[in-house]
Amino acid sequence: MSTSSETRPPEARTASAAPRGTRLTLRGATLGRPGAPAVAEVDLDVAAGEILTVVGPSGCGKSTLLRTFAGLLPTLDGAVEQDGRPVPGPGADRALVFQEDALLPWRTLRANVELPLAIQGVPRAQRGEQAEAWLERVGLADQARQLPHRVSGGQRQRAQLARALAGRPRAVLMDEPFGALDAQTRAGMQDLLVEVLHGTGATVVFVTHDVDEALFLGDRVALLGSGRLIAVRDVPRPRERSAHDDPARVALRRDILTSLGT
């Protein structure tokens, strides 16, 4: 049963395996590198399948938060848990998407997307098939055999998204993935992300310094600043472009900007 599901294209497979998000929790956690704590006393619970966006000024510890969830950084104090169990270290069920240049430059886009599949031991033929399917889904079918430096920054980020999702992670941790893109490309990428995430059921923690991006994508927004977690707010009507002028959304936006001190 599980082997036959592997051969199906990602669309069908992910839809059938629907609720496969994971719950991520920080309990009284102090985050940072040894000797240089960035954020202290964080209590944060990310529900399975939720999209949580994290905003804050640069240097406030947003990336530290993501790396802690990924298991790359141990907490200095307190605990980080996945579904109630301590996170032992990095693993395939929590994929990380970086701001830029995280694709391996000597691999073609397709080979980059195949990498997580190879690590999971998917047979070669299926690897290629699945990678092609993912690239097609993010609109890169024609660029599959290009090296990363041969395509545009937006295309590289799309390939990175495909690579992260190809490994079928239960959580996707995104570190300002669209931060280096121009406004136009950015809006397109946000729509693509919403579309591609649909049906994967994955939990998403999305770090950004753009409040509008945070409000568009997140079910909830976490505000990070001056070394602590300031607040976590529910977003009315997430992922609706038309909700931009919603009075509740406008008020929340004003609130967030005030508490971030801008």
């Binding site: 990095p90 995280a102 690590i119 490994g167 941790l173």
Partner: protein, 291 residues
């Protein structure tokens, strides 16, 4: 019209420069010029060419050639494998750095050729000693450049593979080795050059057969054209092997972004429309070929 003359033009220039150097040599030696520098005892180009032709027909030349090549290839390959291995180890493991670092740093400044006494003491045969010296010569450049290249890797690559569930060996095979390859080949290019210097010197001191041994023999029996045949042979072999290393390196690192910038080429003032448009076309075509 577009790319043909440019390419042959450059080839002709290179051939011409070589021919001019040989011509000057021939002129100075046949005229037996003695103006502070003394060319009267110096063999002429034709003397050397004749000696070369004789050697090519004799059996010793090819034995010497294969002996030297076997020594350098063995020593160099050993150095490449072990140099990369220790370089990666020292760069990735603090324990390895503490254990091996001090020893390597003390041995590194010793010129490989100064290892001849050590080689004579250690190895039962001259042959092994020469390979050892060739190995030592190439080992350190490879080690040092590997170490630097591994340390300079983008940490993001490793983090990405870790969050895909990749382990230590996956990171080594998919990130560290391919990512360090451009730097490693820098070390291999330097290494093959130093290896030649040392294999020739070692043969001169303790060899039986080999280009270095033959060259030194010719010198002791005052056969100057023979000495020059040896020198030319060394030059050609060195050029051949470093080109091979260079080509393999370029092939393996074909993914490196290359600009279409040509060193030293300036945009020339436009004379006619044709002369401005066509060179850029040729440039593009060549870039495409490289990548």
């Amino acid at each position: 019209m577009s790319r043909y003359p440019r390419r042959t033009g450059r080839l002709a220039l290179r051939a011409g420069s070589l021919a001019a150097a040989l011509g000057l040599w021939q002129l100075l030696t046949t005229l037996e010029v003695n103006v502070w520098l003394r060319f009267s005892q110096f063999p002429t180009v034709t003397d050397v060419a004749r000696a070369f032709a004789d050697r090519l027909l004799g059996p010793d030349y090819w034995t010497d050639l294969t002996d030297s090549l076997t020594r350098i290839v063995t020593g160099f390959l050993l150095a490449a494998v072990l140099g990369v291995a220790t370089g990666v180890l020292v760069a990735r493991s603090r324990l390895a750095e503490d254990l091996l670092g001090p020893v390597l740093e003390v041995v590194r400044p010793i010129p490989a050729i100064a290892m001849v006494p050590v080689a004579i003491l250690l190895f039962p045969s001259n042959e092994q000693g020469i390979v050892f010296i060739t190995f030592t010569a190439a080992y350190f450049p490879v080690l040092v450049s590997t170490r630097h290249a591994v340390r300079a890797l983008t940490p993001m690559w490793e983090e990405a593979v870790l969050t895909m569930g990749g382990g230590r060996w996956r990171i080594l095979g998919s990130v560290v080795l391919p990512g360090a390859l451009p730097g490693i080949f820098g070390g291999l290019s330097v290494g093959i050059g130093v290896s030649w210097i040392c294999v020739i010197s070692a043969e001169m001191i303790s060899g039986q057969h080999g280009v270095g041994y033959r060259t030194w023999q010719d010198y002791t029996i005052v056969n100057y054209p023979g000495v020059f045949v040896g020198m030319v042979t060394i030059g050609l072999l060195g050029w051949l092997t470093s080109t091979a290393v260079e080509l393999v390196g370029r092939r393996l690192t074909h993914w490196l972004p290359r600009t279409s910038y040509v060193p030293g080429a300036r945009p020339r003032p436009a004379r006619t429309l044709a002369s401005t448009v066509e060179p850029t076309k040729a440039e593009e075509a060549r870039d495409e070929h490289l990548v």
